[in-house]
Subunit: 183 residues, 2 copies
């Protein structure tokens, strides 16, 4: 899975892939388990092999907001904490039993130094992440909850089938009751 | 300015910088002038040398939303259209007389192929862009207009002094009247 995932962007020789692989470890988590808890030092980002994650921000009024979901083939972390090697301000937990590749910040730097062509892979991932984030900003600025629901349904129909409505409401920024009226 | 800007992230030899420089051109625009108009083919992204830009999305109800501002040392474009080489869905215009470096998508690809270490520079820029976008998403999800104004004031005090209140309202997603009550 890792090789396919990388080679969608960057072809690797067998030797290169064997080398790249040594920078990744796999780990299994159960439903409801935390990969990152608010306040943790964030050592890893994660590539989902199977399962489903939610990245949650708990605000000053103790209200949960879902920043993003991550399913198979998606990367996730508290990226600000990951890149700045600071404490997590968000939590990352399992909506389903989940298996991930773990990739540490230290390994990120080591791999880029040892095999600079991997920077092209991360550049493309980062660019697409930025474009998706900008699309979400536009959606929050210009659309109401019903329109945001419809956009999500269009972009990721399979995701919507797996996400409980209570969590979907926290992603769309509406109450569970409002969501019920919309869908 | 270009050399300082790049070398904040990536040291270059004199030869390397001379080479990099050939991929950039400069251009001056007057206040109110368009760098990108909705519907245009987006050939360039821009690095602001002096001046101030706004990136605007005009929604289905003909309402303007300001996606971002860009001042000295900031990059801007309709990035989705730039990276996918598709038509602009946003417009980029001058709030002040502005001078920019123009960097075409063609040159972006050529420069990365010819001098792969530049991918490290773009990777870091892209990563920071993603983190800023994610911060804005969180701010839109969790904060009201008054809090968003205060966050912006804290992050970019010099920007706020240069942006007319009518445009600031379109960035914060409130009416001009609501903004007047807040600030």
């Amino acid at each position: 899975m890792l090789r396919d995932h990388i080679e969608k962007i960057l072809p690797l020789t067998d030797e290169e892939f064997s080398f790249v692989q040594t920078f990744f470890t796999t780990r299994k988590y159960k439903k409801h388990q935390y990969l990152i808890q608010e306040g943790d030092e964030v050592k890893n980002c994660y590539l989902v092999i199977s399962g489903l994650l939610k990245l949650v921000y708990n605000d000053d009024n103790d209200k949960d907001h879902i920043v993003s979901f991550a399913m198979e083939d998606w990367w996730e972390s508290d990226y600000y904490a990951f890149y700045t090697q600071s404490q997590a301000t968000m939590s990352l937990t399992c909506i389903e039993d989940t298996e991930v590749y773990c990739f540490s910040f230290e390994n990120y730097k080591k791999l880029c130094a040892a095999l600079p062509k991997m920077e092209r892979f991360f550049l493309q991932k980062s660019t697409f992440g930025f474009l998706a984030a900008q699309r979400r900003i536009l959606s929050l600025l210009t659309s109401n909850a019903k329109e945001r629901y419809e956009q999500l349904l269009k972009q990721h129909p399979s995701l919507l089938q797996r996400v409980p409505k209570s969590l979907l409401a926290k992603y769309l920024g509406v109450s569970r009751e409002t969501l019920s009226r919309l869908v």
